[in-house]
Amino acid sequence: MQSMVLIETQSLTKKFGDLVAVDNISFQVFKGECFGFLGPNGAGKTTTMKMVHCVLPLTAGKLTVANMDVADHAREIKKMIGVAPQEDNLDPDFTVFHNLMVYARYFDIPKSEAKKRADELLRFVQLEEKRNVIIDQLSAGMKRRLILARALINEPQILILDEPTTGLDPQARHMIWDKIRSLQKQGVTIVLTTHYMEEAAQLCDRTVIMDNGKIIEEGKPRDLVKKHVGEEVLEVAYDEEVLKFLRNTFPEARLDLVSDRIQVFTNQPKGVFAQILSKFTFKAAMIRDANLEDVFLKLTGRRLRE
């Protein structure tokens, strides 16, 4: 299944004046996969998305979607892509249903067909009851679901989701995840950006990690975790003696000090921390599975981003 390249970029670069937002990146997205862009704010994820769906011109490099160059096939490419942007840009003057109908018109979808699709999509995102409600009266989660439905009105082959669950409560987030999974099952290729590591781990077949406009790592979420932070992490309360002890016991391990805790990352197989804990007791000790967040923080650092 993962054979046909749907999106291909070579040395993609975007500058805004002196600022290099996307710095010479190359990647491929295969048909049918869920491909994730991870990165802190300002990493260049959204800018990359906007170049893929042809609303931002490239500064340099090459970008093709279904073998069509974005430079001269914008219209054809936009027809096959659905976009759920980060910010709410629903039409506040219209009802839920009318938002979908007006959007369908931009794609030249005949009215009767648009009606049919709009009703199906409202069922899909569970907003049938809100069909005739004005946008202002929707919760944030409902708005995100409507934006998702709107992105599907043209039955896209590629779905671009820019931070699909930012700001949502866990229920709303899980529901969006379910919808994304079911769309992928239907054969839609999904490209999403997120800074929620759990989201990427849950949904993405492959991810790239971006920072400062560059792709700094690429792979399957589980492989990335294994490669960079191993399988398990030991966390204990900070103590000078304990730190010394851990350094001696795990000479190859990476020890991070995060506020008042010590985090130990090792490449050794699972169980090694449990052995230690069975012999010694540390204050507030905890063994947990290593996750993508550990990889992310290791690669992009703990400095706050604007």
Partner: protein, 266 residues
């Protein structure tokens, strides 16, 4: 290098029938709130006619051979063209662009930004047509129209509205925020409202002011044409008034689209 920079402001937009889907979106919004949109334009001219026409008109000598109320009736029609389209493509378009992100939503579909702006401009022109038609109906009801050619005011209002929409869109492309629209409204629209031969014959003004009004105020030409079509006679100078729109409208139409592209597509 320098020439190509200037030329980039006048690149001809590539437009398709898709422009109309933007126009229809704006029309849909308009129709949702039709009560707000239809009643004020019908009532406002009434106050002008009563307050200025009957009230002030009692003290004012005939202007350009017309009784005062007959003289200002077409001015009210022409100023409604200006206000409705200029509002639509300043405040209206700015809100759509900046606050509602409507333009961003539309350009993620097969439409281009050029088509989105063109759709908004055509809608602004349509607003001019709608509002001035209502005002025209009012002055017809007051029996202030004597020229049988008055129906030509309808296509004229679309052309005049298109120019004011394009001028408005240029400001929208350049203004950092909503408050900044005070500049074009107070420094461009207000003087034009008063000095374009609207409420007294332009010939009363010093020649320098007349020249400025003729060169830079579209309303001067809109008022002259509308007045000729309601109460005045036809003359060759009307061709000059009309040509003024034929030259400036395409110029600002193209310029406004390119300015918006420069603002929104970096």
């Amino acid at each position: 290098m320098k020439m190509s920079r200037v030329a980039s402001y006048f690149k001809l937009p590539r437009l398709s029938y898709r422009v109309w889907s933007v126009w229809r979106r704006d029309q849909d919004v308009f129709m949702k709130t039709y009560k707000v949109n239809f009643i004020p334009p019908l009532i406002e001219p009434f106050f002008y006619l009563v307050g200025l026409g009957f009230g002030l008109g009692g003290f004012v000598q005939p202007q350009e051979g017309l009784s005062y109320i007959v003289f200002i009736a077409p001015s009210i029609v022409a100023t409604s063209m200006m206000f409705s389209s200029f509002y639509e493509c300043t405040y209206g378009s700015f809100v759509r662009m900046y606050y509602q992100k409507t333009f961003d939503a539309i350009i993620a579909t097969p439409l281009s930004l050029e088509e989105v702006i063109a759709g908004d401009l055509l809608w602004g022109a349509t607003k001019s047509l709608i509002n001035s038609t209502m005002v025209l109906a009012v002055i017809l009801a007051f029996q202030l129209v004597s020229n049988p050619l008055f129906l030509l005011i309808l296509p004229l209002s679309f052309l005049v509205g298109l120019l004011f929409s394009a001028l408005a869109m240029c400001f929208t492309a350049l203004m950092p925020n909503l408050d900044s629209f005070n500049y074009p409204f107070f420094l461009f629209i207000s003087p034009m409202f008063l000095l374009s031969g609207t409420f007294f014959s332009i010939t009363i003004l010093p020649i320098q002011v007349q020249m400025v009004a003729n060169m830079f105020f579209p309303l001067t030409h809109a008022v002259a044409l509308t007045r000729a079509l309601t109460a005045g006679g036809l003359s060759t100078t009307l061709l000059l008034n009309f040509s003024w729109f034929l030259v400036t409208t395409p110029f600002f139409f193209v310029l406004s689209i390119n300015l918006m592209k420069k603002r929104l597509i970096k």
